[in-house]
Symmetry: C2
Subunit: 296 residues, 2 copies
């Protein structure tokens, strides 16, 4: 049984066709331009495929509430051409197959749970740190939705006393994304993250901010695993630094087997940057199963 | 049908008998001494009642995972007499009826959802601010459990630039509880919260810290409602101050109908400080129904 997967990112669109076991049979990508330019190409791609359902993981904020009138619409985004665009509706109308829909980061979280290292867990945080920071959250056996969806990349953190960088989030200045995403690193240090690999001060500071966020996720959500993906997390030297800071910040308050083995608790993404597209495949499968069950 | 309810707090034990509609027929309380002194009195009380099940909401940290060997035990608590005490087991052994078990704050959250103002919602945060700070969280239609349970009272926050108080959490110094619980207010200002009612600087600062926590809960959990209870929140002047700060901190980033009506989104507990014991009643009912269903 074949499913379609669309990882609709703010920079690029990744399309794939795969099966229910997570085998990706073909995959291609396009730059994200305007809906008028980009969506017809996506529709043309998927309408030629023999797929039973499509899964879409979209950049946000998006409406993920199926009861809502604006379900599947991109909401208030700085990418103005996409603001209020009915992404779900465009595919629904043209393809007429079941369409699973969630955020890109929730999809990545689902990818890791279904095909990666977080199988059988009941609560997982997936954090991507790249050009932006986003959190996908799985709790009580489901992706987390509420009045909207997690926006955990924008949580408030405390500036390091020796860091004078004011932060670059257009909404919050020094929130997590404003202090620790790729553009913040580049702006603070004057070079791209990849060129700063040998500069230990860069990664000490980066770990300090990421660890604050993880500490708060742990205290609020009590996840069974935290998975870190995205371009910045390709800097593997960050992992031990983050774990050390989290340990210091929790300061013995949480005593669980997970916290006593932080190297298995705070881990890199395991699916070679395919966690997002694989999660979309699973979104397609889940929606297909639900609609079939409903019909029977 | 009658159910028993036990709100097992660190300071006092509240016992009640009620029905499935949330009518409390009788209620009494005892100070929390040692397990040897207190538990026999509790057992004696409930064993004389014609109850079908008991619900326990316990001070934490507690093990709330039914698959775990230490399910129902109090874990690492500064109340040393209770450390590793099998609270669930003591009642299970003596009463032989279904026993629902969760944290005290999760129970309060459930009380508000079942009998209060959060009915029909899918995701709710209940925060109690009193001698300590604790968060009960309901997500995807269930109380939140993970590797443990929420410990949202201990999240990291940023000290106000004009506040020199170092915080009084024995683990984290200036975490939310260390900066904003009742003892922190008393230690910082030299008077009990209730005596400071007219001092606007006290409540401006208090609102600043609480709002930071709520902003992070909103960005991580995206709850549909936030309910604030506990002794400190009897200071009603806090509510408008907290809402104003949350609005400022989110700074237009989240646009939902909830955030545009903060006076209906961030609200006081609605059950006259009975949210905890009513939640325990519901824990009893849910456990009873589950065991009956399992037997059938």
């Amino acid at each position: 049984m074949l499913f379609g997967a669309l990882e609709a990112g703010g920079t690029k669109m990744v399309m794939a066709v795969g099966d229910e076991k997570g085998n990706i049979l073909e995959q291609k990508s396009l730059p994200t331009l305007t809906p008028e330019e980009t969506v017809p190409e996506l529709l043309s791609y998927f309408s030629k495929k023999e797929i039973c359902a499509l899964g879409i993981g979209a950049f946000g904020p998006v409406d993920v509430n199926p009861q809502s009138k604006s379900f599947g619409h991109i909401l208030d985004t700085p990418k103005l051409a996409w603001k209020n665009y009915n992404l779900y509706g465009a595919f629904q109308e043209k393809l007429g197959i079941p369409i699973g829909f969630d955020t890109d980061v929730n999809s990545s979280c689902l990818g890791e749970i279904t095909f990666g290292q977080a199988g059988n867990l009941n609560s997982v945080v997936y954090l991507t740190i790249g050009t932006g920071i986003g959190a996908g959250i799985y709790v009580n056996g489901k992706l987390l939705h509420g009045m909207l969806h997690p926006e955990g990349g924008h949580i408030m953190i405390t500036r390091h006393p020796e860091d004078s960088f004011e932060g670059c989030c257009p909404y919050h200045g020094g929130c997590l994304e404003g202090m620790a995403a790729g553009p913040a690193i580049e702006k603070r240090w004057g070079k791209r993250a990849a060129e700063l690999e040998q500069e230990s001060a860069v990664w000490e500071l980066e770990a300090y901010y990421i660890a604050q966020a993880l500490t708060n996720y742990i205290l609020i959500l009590s996840p069974e695993k935290i998975i870190l993906g995205g371009g910045v997390m390709h800097q593997k030297q960050l992992f031990p630094l983050i774990r050390e800071q989290v340990k210091k910040m929790l300061n013995g308050y949480i005593n669980t087997k997970e916290i006593s083995s932080l190297d298995q608790y705070i881990v890199p993404a395991s699916l070679k940057d395919n966690q997002g597209i694989l999660g979309c495949l699973q979104l397609a499968k889940l929606e297909y199963e639900q609609q079939v069950k409903y019909v029977q």
